[in-house]
Amino acid sequence: MNEKHLYLALLKIKNNTNINELVHEGLELFEITNLLKQIIELNYLIETDSELILSETGYERFRILELQYKKTNKSEWIKPDDRNIIKKIRKNDIFVPNSKELTFRLKKRIRK
């Protein structure tokens, strides 16, 4: 079992947060599911109807892994989103984004 993946999975379970970071690590659905099943088999978590909680042994393992894998350097866990970088513009320029690149739809106005 990859220790970094195990750390990330335990972190997500502990905080009940999104598993996207594991996806960014390149893991597929079945790999993440199997990882979680292994964590259950290792008795690292307690499963209730409403939530998953780290067991005592799970939390101990998490603390050990955290020493190695926790990102404390800001530049490691805040990465610039290259897609949104634009060329530096002059003080009096106005930036108009390309409407095709917007993440929302613009209402079409009918000219009278």
């Binding site: 947060t17 999104n18 598993i19 996207n20 996806v23 993440i32 599911t33 979680l36 099943k37 998953l52």
Partner: protein
Amino acid sequence: MTPKQLLELDKIITKKEWTDNPLHTSVNNKLFKLLNRLDNDEVTLILELLHKFTWISNSQYDKKILDVFRKIDPNIIKSCKKLYFFPIVKPRDSKKLKSGLSIIYPIVGILNYIEEFDHVKTRNIISNFQELKKITLKEDEYLILVDDFIGSGKTFEDCYNQIQQYSIPNEKIIICTLAIQEDGLELIQKHGFSVYYSHIEKKGISNNYAGDEIIRRISRMTLIEKKLKYNPRYSLGFERSEGLISMIKTPNNTFPVFWHEYLEGDEIIKAPFPRY
């Protein structure tokens, strides 16, 4: 999607025995991709609906066809010598290959194995309205209208309005479908027909929750539809049917989140149960 939600998805897939279906890997991966686009509350809604979702795969069709035809009134079968089959299609779609026509062939094949039908001539497939117009049914002959799925019943109504103009009496018409939605069933029964089916569908949200619970879920679903930029014509499924079913081809009555493609950047991503 949280780890809890991912384990929930895995439990649903296992409980529904989708892993027995050779197509399940594609469905699972696409479900995963889709759920990763949604926030946790939206994922909760989709998981709730997946619990109620029915996937009738190609390999289950034989069993469903047997189930439907074994339900037909035995008195009709005993008195019958010849059956005609016609797909439930709109007159303007008569020349297209629709699911109604493609399912007639396996039906006719399977009927050969049902002993109660041994005395019935079943090889009479009519594929268009012009042919149907020429038919005059004798005392011991029936017309079976067939589709794999009946949603709102609008297609049936269009088909029936056309057939009404021919010399085929209503009591000679039998309707068979593998699956049907409650709204469609009510509409057809209003016309006085007997409908034989294997699976019946309720509206996924409106018939399963009450009061504010419905409003909350419907508005969440419409937000998902806007976020993924689906064609608004299919909001909550065609005719707002709120369907939770997929067959060889997913009906457009099903919530579009399960079948409508969406964009990820410039790339078109196929849904878990695509129609095209």
